[in-house]
């Protein structure tokens, strides 16, 4: 029985957190608790994943099971064991 959440990361987040992570979070898990767990185990990465108040940075793109979750309530989207959560920080330079 798969009781962990698969985390995928892209670009800078792959460099900071690694990719293909299996993380365990207490049920009921949400996008917020998954991000918080990533930040807990990697404080250096936390500065780019979370904002000053500990919320997920607004610009970070989040997908649950490869579907984008967006908008104000996205951190409360539930995540179940076996689900995949992906994080990508869009870039700006030219």
């Amino acid at each position: 029985m798969d009781d962990t959440i698969h985390v995928r990361t892209f670009a800078r987040f792959r460099e900071l957190f690694g990719d293909g992570l299996e993380i365990a979070v207490a049920a009921p898990a949400t996008v917020r608790s998954v991000a918080a767990e990533l930040a807990r185990v990697n404080p250096a990465g936390a500065r780019e994943l979370l904002d000053g108040e500990g919320n997920l940075s607004k610009s970070v793109i989040v997908m649950v099971n490869r579907e984008r979750v967006a908008g104000a309530g996205r951190e409360d989207v539930p995540v179940h064991p076996g689900d995949e959560v992906a994080f990508y920080p869009p870039v700006a330079g030219g």
Partner: protein
């Protein structure tokens, strides 16, 4: 396509000898008669302009309000130390003309604003978003939507880059894909990262002109130069998008 139609000449047949087997004579003629606006003549715009010109795109408009500075030279490959303090649009146009005097190159030394973005995109078949900030990128995206012009977006930071191709009415737009821009100072950029993404932009523009499906339609195509991999992050059209959805008339 602006101006009078240009047929393939003997010179064109020779110049594009190694390319016509791929794109066909008709495809090559499409390129010769196409007009592309490159917004931003920096790390992305320089390689995009070079490769579009080399491929035979007949009319290139280069938009940039900046002058060349020493710290540009690690990635803005159209410029050298002798160009410092000169207009990027002007120098870029000069260099492109020297590579192929047959191309119509139009430098526009203007800042993109709500007033200038409309005339700057006039008559264009494709716009290339090679800008360095999201407010200007969103302006260009909105006008491309309004005019129905395909837009090829790229952005870079460090070893990483992203590509998105927008076909108005047929795909997600930049605002759908990146609704909240990242904050912070101009990022460090490795020249080759900008080179890779600028070339990808040129490739997407050529695909559109040749009638092929773009690689980055409804997907952020992400380059990871640390691991040497490309990933596709699927993007859906947001029905409430302020640029392409029902939010667009609400200011």
């Amino acid at each position: 396509m602006a101006g009078r139609h240009r047929d393939l000449s003997d010179r064109d047949r020779e110049r594009y000898l190694r390319q016509i087997p791929l794109v066909g004579e008709e495809g090559q003629e499409n390129l010769l008669n196409a007009s592309i606006c490159i917004a931003g003549a920096g790390g992305l715009g320089c390689p995009a302009a070079l490769y579009l010109a080399a491929a035979g795109v007949g009319h290139i408009r280069i938009v940039d309000d900046d002058v060349v500075s020493m710290s540009n030279l690690n990635r803005q490959v159209l410029y050298g130390e002798a160009d410092i303090a000169k207009s990027k649009a002007g120098i870029a146009a000069e260099k492109i003309r020297s590579l192929d005097p047959g191309i119509q190159v139009e430098p526009r030394d203007v800042t993109l604003t709500e007033e200038t973005v409309f005339p700057v995109t006039e008559g264009m078949d494709i716009v290339v978003d090679a800008l360095d900030n999201y407010p200007a990128r969103y302006l260009l995206n909105a006008v491309a939507q309004e005019r129905g012009i395909p837009l090829v977006h790229a952005a870079v930071s460090g070893y990483f880059g992203q590509l998105l191709t927008v076909l108005p009415g047929r795909s997600a737009c930049l605002q759908c894909a990146v609704p909240n821009p990242p904050a912070g100072n101009p990022p460090p950029v490795l020249g080759v990262t900008a080179g890779i993404l600028g070339c990808m932009q040129a490739g997407e523009a050529l695909r559109i002109l040749l009638g092929d499906e773009p690689l980055a339609k409804d997907a952020l195509v992400v380059w990871d130069g640390k691991t040497g991999s490309w990933e596709k992050i699927r993007v859906r059209r947001d029905p409430g998008c302020s640029a392409c959805g029902r939010g667009k008339n609400n200011g």
